[in-house]
Point group: C2
């Protein structure tokens, strides 16, 4: 069965929650593991509503320390403690998080039954792989916001091509090591005949990728995080007629988000982080589609399956 990598937006509001929109958080699920990008207040409730098990959470990536991206962390850490979590949890965030947690009742390191592995990002860093798993990694770049903020890119690693089963049988492949060898790019000699990997192994299979770019003005780092991704979630706090306001407060318009998606060659764009002033999101979607047609407004609790490039 092919591996499915899914992105589930949990909150699409900016700053102030509304009756319909929760605060920033997005889950990524892959083979029973879960990553979380941002953790606004109420994230643990949204995980419950999405049917996502908190115990599956491997790592959490915070973009910046505004409350609408951060204040759900405390409750989520507490709930995982009450549920008896023992596995280490990685938290990638702007530096200083341990000092914050250390004064919040219940979250001192010695009070948690599981270890926290902190990865702190400092202003001035350029590009860093902040989480490296066998099958994927997450990289970060600094964005341009009112406070120090980082965007992230989830990237599955390249997998070797598939071995052509019929050819392999015809060539006498029988042992497991025959297959392993060609997959690892080595020739195999069977019955005096040498088979080169390229004779039998298909092309490398690129992994799927996802970029999470908020909060920020449109910026080069955002574009680079999004280069060729299957899915880009980019903030679109305002419509273009509020471009000046967006710049003043370090945010993007829907049109600017679409321009980043286009320049980066992304496959799909989801807009998020909507100002509470927009009850109807269609104007944001419309102005973005004029630049980048493959755009939608992120829907909370909907599952977006990442599809690899054709």
């Amino acid at each position: 069965m092919p591996i499915s990598t899914e992105v589930i937006p949990l909150g699409t509001a900016s700053a102030i929650p509304t009756r319909d929109r929760n605060l920033s958080a997005t889950a990524l699920r892959r083979e029973g593991e879960m990553l979380l990008f941002d953790c606004g207040e109420g994230t643990q409730f949204q995980l419950l509503r999405a049917g996502l098990k908190r115990s599956r959470l491997d790592a959490l990536f915070l973009t910046h320390f505004h409350g609408d991206h951060l204040y759900g962390l405390f409750g989520l850490l507490t709930t995982m403690a009450l549920l008896g979590r023992e596995d280490a949890l990685t938290i990638v965030a702007p530096e200083g998080l341990p000092d914050i947690l250390d004064v919040i009742p219940g979250l001192q390191a010695h009070q948690l039954p599981y270890p926290l592995r902190h990865v702190g990002l400092a202003p001035g860093f350029g590009h860093a792989v902040v989480f490296d798993a066998p099958a994927y990694y997450v990289a970060a770049r600094p964005l341009e916001h009112r406070v120090f903020a980082a965007g992230y890119r989830f990237q599955e690693k390249v997998r070797p091509g598939k071995v052509d089963g019929e050819k392999a049988q015809a060539l006498g492949f029988a042992e497991n090591w025959h297959f392993e060898a060609v997959k690892n790019g080595k020739p195999v000699t069977i019955g005096g005949r040498t088979v080169q990997p390229e004779d039998i192994v298909g092309p490398d299979r690129p992994g799927v990728s996802f970029a999470y770019v908020l909060d920020t003005m449109p910026c080069t780092a955002g574009r680079r995080l999004a280069e060729g991704v299957d899915l880009l979630i980019h903030e679109a706090t305002f419509t273009e007629d509020e471009a000046q306001r967006a710049e003043e407060v370090g945010h993007s318009t829907a049109r600017q988000a679409a321009t980043i998606a286009k320049q980066a060659g992304a496959q799909h764009l989801l807009l998020t982080h909507f100002s509470a002033r927009y009850a109807d999101l269609q104007p944001l979607v419309d102005e973005a589609r004029a630049v980048f047609p493959n755009t939608a407004a992120a829907e909370e609790l909907r599952t977006y399956v990442l599809t690899p490039p054709a």
Copy 2:
């Protein structure tokens, strides 16, 4: 129109939220003012759902510093700042809250556009009026929990009795000061005839009262806060068969909550702070009613109107 004082439970879960139950918080509304008791994560969402204006909040009373009673404070304070609040907000809580807020990004005192008035409760206090308004006051007493915790009592002040309108007219009352004088217990002489207040003013009208008692084991302070109240909200984390567990973790059973209500002579009891293990709350209600019939499980977002004693 008579004054209506209403209590609206916003969260009835203990520790871990469920799909159906939010974390501890209860609003009290009276003549356009609002008080809030506890502020678990998601309280600002529940205020939205209840149609309660955050701008009406005058004072906030925190029982203790476990996350399920505290972590919604940060987002609520932030949202009120974003909405441009300028009025001072009183927060009554165990001492130490300013030190916590001071390290949470966005909540340093100089970052908020409105002043916070902190009232800090320290272990060892016995009984204190912690908020005094013209028409009511709120008193606190220390409870018995794993950490320092305080319970609260909202008490409307006694209002003078009503002046008998027909009698007043017959006796020649015409000026406003005639009425004010007898209401304030002073005789009035009209046309050579002296009217004593007791001749024309009905008995004093006691105000309504409400006690908020969580988290705690059953204790004397809880009983005293609840003496003769119109409504007691008492925690009932467990059923009686978990009495030993309740004692170990500093909580109450439903039966114990009912016993406090009975001993205190409360009019109505609402149970709250239910362990996530109870999908069905009827067993808790049943065991409480066996001791104190006028019991119900608190329903989130339902309005309970406080009715004065007959």
